[in-house]
Symmetry: C2
Subunit: 345 residues, 2 copies
DNA sequence: GTGAATCGGACAAACGGTTTCCTAAGTTTT
DNA sequence: AAAACTTAGGAAACCGTTTGTCCGATTCAC
């Protein structure tokens, strides 16, 4: 074997950055052809073990890292997906992204992050740029459970919708089990002896508010109970929680359980209850939704709440996308179950 | 011109996904060679305007989207960067990512998102995968302002450290202006007539706690004032804020201003003050740090707080990275200033 | 010792664009 | 009308890797 220099010699260093070794450098150093080097490193072809070892050693010494872009060009796969979030990395997209990254990481895929800021134009722009980059698939993560318009027809790659399902039922969507969340909350309240239960939640314009409210009534009925008063639709804020509780205590002072549509509302509710002199959780039980640790653990008392399983939802979205990429799409609306996190409220 | 079929005809559709048109299809449809089609679309070469138009029309009809992976192979640039966050998309990395995406988007770059979960092994793994994908650069976003070990020596691409600066001063780092943040808070308290000011902050083990505490003392001195008592080091939590205020009111009942090292602490502090019967902001002024809207706006009263400019920091990191990629690295520690957000506390 | 089977590795095509070089017209000059 | 320029567009090289084909050299059977 002709002894080569240990560093790739020619080519412009230009900037201060070190030059990258290519497979040609490795092959030269190991004294074989490029094709042989490739086979040696990928376990293909018929090669003597000694040759393989020699090539591996050369690759090691040169810190050879094969360019996936060259490989992609050949195979048509980039092992790359795009995640488009409409939520500016807010409360919902964060756990979804985490879960998705988990699932994708197992498939050795990396995710491009795109924040559409809920602007359809930005969204289209991102889709275009993702397709130019030949991503293998796209996840569209929403911020509400209301159905949304599909991101495009006849895209050349599979798309999975997370949280906000696509209006087109032949698309692949994953969302949270809203009725189940309401049941978990009500079952817990009833199990802990509450009988006069009220419901304070977000805007009536949000699908999840309406669905949860309906499911709450249903879940109570299954226990032979009626909701105390009507559901209190308002906003996703502590102030609304406080205000609604103040009103509630006037109209129904004997309430002993409150199911809140969000942790922030529940936190406002507990504050108002406490300040009205009620002792928690003895007198009134409160259950929230989100298990948003920041709110739930800082509340007094710490909130019992329904975790919607958003991270699991993200993971599921990643898995469904990978399946679709591999040729087994599972169209339709999938749901992931939530679970109750019992704290002290 | 020989009239072609409007869709690329040959090749395996295989899956249900539509086939993608390549530049060869465009060229065929426009009745020119591949090279000419490329020139027409990129505004190169000497072509009749009529030819360009014909090619553009063909590209349009075929929804041609040039593969950046092919282009990258040739140019060596992928217009792609990696963002490694140690923070599981927490409070700090979110605004940083937003800012970085802003800056990178202007350069038509897309970002791979990698969550290292503060695990050096995961981090190295991500670095390796990013380099295989030939990213043009890497942003490493930390979660504290303590300096950290560099992510590797002699990497073939530029790296910018955000929030947590690299211990190697020849690396490129951006962090927040901690002393400036303390000054903003103290100046505001003094300007609104406070004279007996205390400081409640996070763990002594965090650089930002120590730096802010020292700078607080200094800023007070500049006004001819002394800190009331010692800085209260504790944890970044509401419970600590409440506890510290309870103690503080016993040791120094005449305190009229509190600078808290975080909004969560400040929120705990305002709760404890309010519950002790103090009227806010008349009797005691409170200033936090973070401008974390969720905490700051839900507090009673809404918190006046120092915004560390994390989104701006992310943007700056993106800009510095782009500059380094373009051959003009700016090594050293850069800082971005914060600003005061005045609410009612 | 000869032919067949096996083995190890070189060679070249391919992926999808961009770019450089070159040629065949058309246009101007003398 | 021939020489000198322009102009428009084609042919081919190139980027870095994988992979199928093919060929020379051993080894084996007879």
């Amino acid at each position: 074997m002709t002894s080569d220099t240990s560093v790739p010699e020619s080519g412009p260093p230009a900037n201060g950055l070190p030059r990258r070794a290519g497979i040609a450098d490795v092959a030269a150093r190991a004294g074989v052809s490029v094709g042989t080097a490739s086979k040696a490193l990928n376990g293909r072809g018929n090669l003597r073990e000694e040759t393989r070892a020699r090539v591996r050693a050369a690759a090691e010494e040169l810190e050879f890292a094969p360019s996936t872009v060259a490989r992609s060009l050949l195979t048509g796969r980039t092992f790359t997906v795009g995640i488009i979030t409409t939520d500016s990395y807010g409360r919902f997209s964060i756990p979804i992204m985490r879960g998705a990254e988990d699932a994708l990481g197992l498939g050795e895929m990396l995710a491009f992050l795109c924040d559409s800021r809920d602007d359809p134009i930005r969204e289209q722009h991102h889709i275009k740029r993702l397709l130019e980059r030949r991503v293998d698939g796209i996840i569209v993560a929403g911020r509400r459970t209301d159905a949304r318009q599909p991101v495009g027809r006849n895209l050349p790659v599979p798309v999975v919708y997370a949280l906000a399902p696509s209006a087109d039922e032949s698309d692949i969507s994953v969302t949270s089990d809203e009725p189940g969340a309401a049941r978990l909350a009500i079952d817990h309240l009833v199990r802990t002896g509450r009988r006069r239960i009220a419901h304070i939640t977000g805007p009536h314009s949000h699908a999840s508010s309406r669905v949860r409210a309906d499911s709450t009534v249903e879940a109570l009925r299954a226990h032979g109970l009626e909701l105390v008063g009507d559901p209190w639709f308002g906003s996703w804020s502590e102030a609304w929680g406080r205000f609604a509780v103040a009103q509630l205590l006037r109209s129904d002072p004997d309430v002993d359980g409150i199911f809140c549509g969000a942790d922030v509302i529940a936190r406002g509710a507990t504050d108002a209850l406490r300040e009205s002199g009620a002792s928690l959780p003895m007198q009134v039980g409160v259950v929230g939704v989100d298990n948003w640790v920041i709110s739930a653990e800082a509340a007094r008392p710490p909130l019992t709440t329904v975790d919607l399983g958003l991270q699991e939802l993200g993971r599921r979205a990643g898995e469904l996308l990978i399946a679709a990429i591999d040729g087994s799409p599972a169209p339709g609306l999938h749901t992931v179950p939530g679970h109750l996190v019992v704290r002290e409220s």
